[in-house]
């Protein structure tokens, strides 16, 4: 009992800390890629406390709910967006034996729960009583159609290779030559994951220059902060899942396992940020096309490849 409680505390700690680190990384990496410095004042040393300061500011702000909003749905939407990622974090293994819970159907659980997160966005879009938000919600829903299938197909390829649905089982079964073997699946999974997170270049539901943050238009204060937190937890979760499924989790020379996992997670998070800085936004129908003409066939090819190699 005590052990489970301890695990949960650690997970909540990680849940609060990792997104902040990713957020700060984004601030700084993005700034330097744009020849800027980024935050420099909060906390003294290179603005390390900027996100904490942001959080304090958000908490102090007035919680405005538009008169035309569907109040109950409006209030609950940020939680719906955030909690699934928290739950997913429980089952992600960081090192041998370092996980909240080891589920036999871990992969299945993760994919199912992550799919719920997008509901928060759709709920927010509908309940805000704002035309831009509705458009954003509609785009979220449309996006859902395009990324879920490749995501599941790519993940199932790894499950096939490892012969288990357990996340720890997958990592334990992982061999270095899986990297080239599952490379296509890894890329498909990561790209589809970006679309799920609504991160650039797939941030059409948010698109501040078109529909002004879409579902988040009417949110202020702590509720808005929860949406932002969900985005960054999402990056952590996506990076962690890609690490666990395709990059071999804690496998790696010299350094202890958990360190390897964290390194891989942050490298992937950096890629997420890097892509955001470099690319323009796609259009909703272009994403659909990419998913159905590009990602789904690729994922199927990967499945076939996995099957062939597995049988041989």
């Amino acid at each position: 009992m005590l052990e489970i409680a301890l695990r949960l505390v650690v997970i909540i700690g990680a849940f609060l800390l990792l997104p902040l680190i990713v957020g700060q990384l984004e601030h700084k990496a993005m700034a330097h890629m744009q020849s800027r410095l980024g935050p420099m004042y909060a906390g003294g040393f290179h603005g390390w406390a900027q996100l904490i300061a942001d959080g304090v500011k958000f908490v102090q702000k007035e919680d405005v709910i538009p008169a035309a909003a569907d109040r109950a749905v409006f209030k609950i939407a940020p939680a719906v967006a955030l909690v699934p990622y928290l739950i997913v974090m429980i089952v992600i293994p960081v090192g041998p034996g370092l996980y909240g819970v080891d589920l036999d159907a871990g992969l299945f659980f993760v994919l199912a729960v992550m799919g719920v997160g997008v509901l928060g966005s759709i709920m927010a879009g509908w309940s805000s009583g704002n035309k831009y938000s509705v458009l954003g919600g509609m785009r979220s829903a449309a996006q859902l159609m395009s990324y879920e299938l490749p995501l599941v197909l790519a993940a199932s390829s790894v499950a096939m290779a490892a012969g288990t649905l357990s996340l720890t089982g997958i990592v334990e079964a992982w061999q270095w030559w899986w990297l080239p073997w599952q490379a296509i699946g890894a890329i498909v999974f990561f790209v589809a994951g970006l679309a799920e997170l609504r991160r650039p270049p797939f941030d059409m539901p948010i698109a501040e220059s078109e529909i002004i943050m879409g579902p988040m238009t009417e949110y202020t204060g702590i509720r808005f902060a929860l949406f932002m937190l969900a985005e960054y937890v999402g990056i952590v979760v996506l990076s962690a899942l890609t690490t666990v499924l395709f990059l071999g989790g804690w496998h790696g020379p010299w350094l202890p396992g958990p360190v390897w996992t964290l390194i891989k997670i942050f490298v992937l998070a950096f890629v997420v940020i890097w892509v955001r800085v470099s690319y323009p936004r796609m259009r909703e129908d272009q994403l659909q096309k990419l998913a159905w003409v590009g990602l789904v066939p690729l994922a199927l090819v990967q499945l076939a490849l996995t099957g062939v190699v597995k049988v041989l």
Partner: protein
């Protein structure tokens, strides 16, 4: 354009990565002050002694943001002379909340009482405080930089030309082919 698909995407990533590894160009403003050229139109400085309250600047200002009050004072006659009158400046104020920073007042001033200074740090919490009275305007006068020298090939500034030689030679400086200096006849051209 036979290109490998994805080159554009890769190039973009390369550009941003290269910038990340280079020095940023940001100047950290309050710690690092910008270097402003002497002509920068930051704030208008008043040299009160030069002002004759002639009102030219106030009249030429496109949005009438200069306020001048003055009264006449009679100076007692010096020995063997007549008493003279002169204008005494009571109030000279520029409302920087209206000012468009065009510099016409400075150009219009015939007695060199107004100057540009590059200072810009006079933002206020209350817009009414942007009305600078003459004492405040006078403080800016210490910040006025000397004007920059002119590029080779320029005519020497009027002051220098007038100093070195009076009227006739000032004319002769102009190269052949240059236009007459006083085209007052332009109206009928």
């Amino acid at each position: 354009m036979a290109r490998i698909p994805g080159t554009g995407l890769a190039k973009g990533l390369a550009v941003t990565l290269r910038h990340m590894l280079r020095r940023s160009v940001t100047q950290q403003y309050p710690e690092v002050q910008p270097e402003l050229p002497p002509r920068s139109r930051g704030v208008i400085a008043l040299v009160e002694e030069n002002c004759t309250s002639c009102m030219l600047c106030a009249r030429e200002c496109p949005d009438w943001c200069i306020y001048i009050d003055s009264h006449k004072e009679t100076i007692p006659a010096p020995e063997g002379g007549r008493p003279r009158q002169r204008n005494v400046l009571d109030r000279f104020a520029i409302d920087f909340s209206l000012c468009m920073y065009c510099g016409i007042c400075i150009e219009a001033c015939p007695f060199d009482a107004l100057f540009w200074a590059p200072d810009f740090e006079y933002a206020e919490h209350d817009i009414r405080d942007l009305l600078h009275e003459k004492d405040r305007l006078a403080t800016w006068a210490t910040k006025v930089p000397p004007p920059p020298a002119h590029e080779l090939g320029a005519e020497p500034p009027k002051e220098l030309a007038a100093e070195s030689a009076p009227r006739p030679s000032a004319r002769s400086i102009r190269p052949p082919g240059a236009l007459p200096k006083r085209p007052e006849s332009e109206g009928d051209a």
